[in-house]
């Protein structure tokens, strides 16, 4: 601290400016990616894109209808599996999670959150695809559901914890049993938050590709049969991006644009609601 005061202050200002720069640099990729998606993808979004499935190379037209449908079905399956379990675990953590078991489950949820999705993918393959003998959208949905559970458990826990204790005490004082207090007062109060937590989690798994590679596999044809291979938006984007044809690349950009609009819409809506909720609580 022997440096002159002016130098110290100038250095401080320079470094403060540098943190502004870091923030700008961090946001830049988001702007660039969104910009590129709009520039390269928007031109290919037409009626065919949403209504037609893939066509053989060389033929004009063709679209992503099968992939969009596939993503909706697979994500729907993931929700059917993951949402009830994830939310229930979240309620457990908030209501009974004070003890050693709660600590352990919370910890495992966090650790499971960091397990690479490709590992979940090969696990789903050995556990579901291999015994069933064929690739299926069902296995893909369950794989995504497994990713959903730990995320949802943690967000639900936080939302339930935000409910003021006085509400719980009031219900108990009125003679409500604990389980009714928990479900009909506490969880119900937190329900908006829980729903938004679900939206954020769904937004995350909707963009997952790796767990679907060996489960849903992908499909060039329109299919709604959950016991068979099915296309999904991320899988289709992956396939077309690596393909050699310009037409495929063009459609990959358009597919990516649809995917990111879906994901960003879900997470932005969710974030807005959570923020409003927090300010009330």
């Amino acid at each position: 601290m022997m440096r002159g005061r002016l130098i110290r202050r100038l250095f401080g200002s320079a470094m403060t400016g540098a943190t502004y720069g870091a923030a700008v640099l961090a946001i830049l990729p988001l702007a660039v990616i969104l910009g590129m998606l709009l520039v390269k993808g928007a031109g290919s979004l037409d009626w065919n894109f949403f209504t037609k499935s893939a066509v053989p190379v060389g033929e004009a037209g063709g679209g992503f209808a099968h992939a969009i449908m596939g993503t909706l079905i697979i994500v729907g399956l993931a929700c059917a599996v993951g949402v009830p379990i994830g939310v229930a675990i979240g309620i457990f953590l908030a209501e009974f999670g004070g003890g050693r078991l709660g600590f352990a489950v919370r910890f495992i949820a966090d650790v499971l959150n960091g397990v690479p999705s490709i590992v979940i993918g090969i696990f789903a393959w050995t556990w579901l695809v291999k015994p069933m003998g064929h690739f299926s959208a069902l296995a893909g949905g369950i794989a995504l559901g497994m990713i959903l559970v730990p995320i949802l458990a943690r967000t639900t826990e936080e939302m339930v914890r935000l409910v003021p204790n006085s509400l719980r005490e009031a219900a108990l004082a009125l003679g409500y049993q604990r389980w009714r207090t928990s479900l009909q007062v506490v969880v119900r109060t937190a329900s908006a938050g829980i729903v938004t937590g679900c939206l954020v989690a769904v937004a995350r798994v909707a963009g997952e590709t790796a767990p679907l590679l060996f489960t849903a596999l992908g499909n060039q044809f329109f299919s709604t049969r959950i016991q068979g291979p099915m296309a999904a938006l991320p899988l289709q984007v992956y396939l077309y991006a690596l393909g050699p044809y310009d037409e495929w690349h063009r459609q990959a950009w358009a597919g990516a644009l649809v995917l990111i609009m879906l994901v960003l819409a879900l997470s932005l809506v969710a974030r807005a609601v959570v923020r409003a909720k927090r300010q009330h609580a």
Partner: protein, 335 residues
Amino acid sequence: MTDIPVTVLEPAVAPRPTAQERWRGLRTVSRGDVVYRTVLTALALLLPLLVVLIAIELVSNAMPAVSKFGFGFLVHSTWDPVRGEFGALPLIFGTLYSSLVALIIAVPLALGCAVFLTEFAPRWLRTPVATLIELLAAVPSVIYGLWGIFVLIPLLRDHFWPVARPVLRGLPIFSGAFYGPSVLAAGVILAVMVLPYITAVSREVLLAVPPSQREAGLALGATRWETVTTVILPYGRAGIIGAVILGLGRALGETMAVTMVIGNRHEVSASLLQPGYTIAAAIANEFSEAVSDMHLSALFMIGAVLFIITIAANTLARVLVWRVARGSAVGSTAI
């Protein structure tokens, strides 16, 4: 005098319950409560069960490769599915190398962002900027990959490298010809992808630093920047290291984007300009086209290695973060 039977009347009022009995009465739970708690507990036990199941499946499927190649699997670099020879060194090296490059780029930026968001940014700017950075984590991996192939790689090859070449060509990490798909491209993409995680967690760590620490630093005459470097960052050091390790865990397991830009070549090369390969990328590319049971088993073995590394990294990171920001669900809101 005959004896008149005397009936002793029960006292009309029950004896006052002792404090202990009243307490017990309050503690009795209805059957509904027991069912509720049991069901939730049973569901909660599914999570540990899932981790155990994953571990068992990975290890049991990896057993043939483990017994055939043993420890040598991790240090040999031949990967020849046709001849049935498997060594995972290039995969492990590539995974660690690309993640290291990512961290070298992302950590200073992420710390800068976290400091900006907690110390320097005007209050009205904090939430929007934090949200935008968090949105980076919401972008699907495959979109980063697409962007990497068609934007980042051409940018690095046609604009960055011609300018940087005269300066950097002497360094061994920049040797050889640069065609595009490379460890460098993967590192840059990974840096963008882990940045939001490191930023979000270190921001929460910095927020948990008590204001009195800040005030003490300022009161001793430090500038705000000096307070950051001498008081706030050291106070949150363990948590920040945790945030970085959390980011590392993400980078190690990232699959799609890396697969699309790293070039997928089984070779150990120190040069950032050369193609490489990672564990996750190899699984993604080869798993559904495995030519033999041994090939599949080898893929399971590297999968198990990846699983163990990421579990260890995450455990360490959580412990470190919890030491600073105890109780808050660090990171989970942001992610």
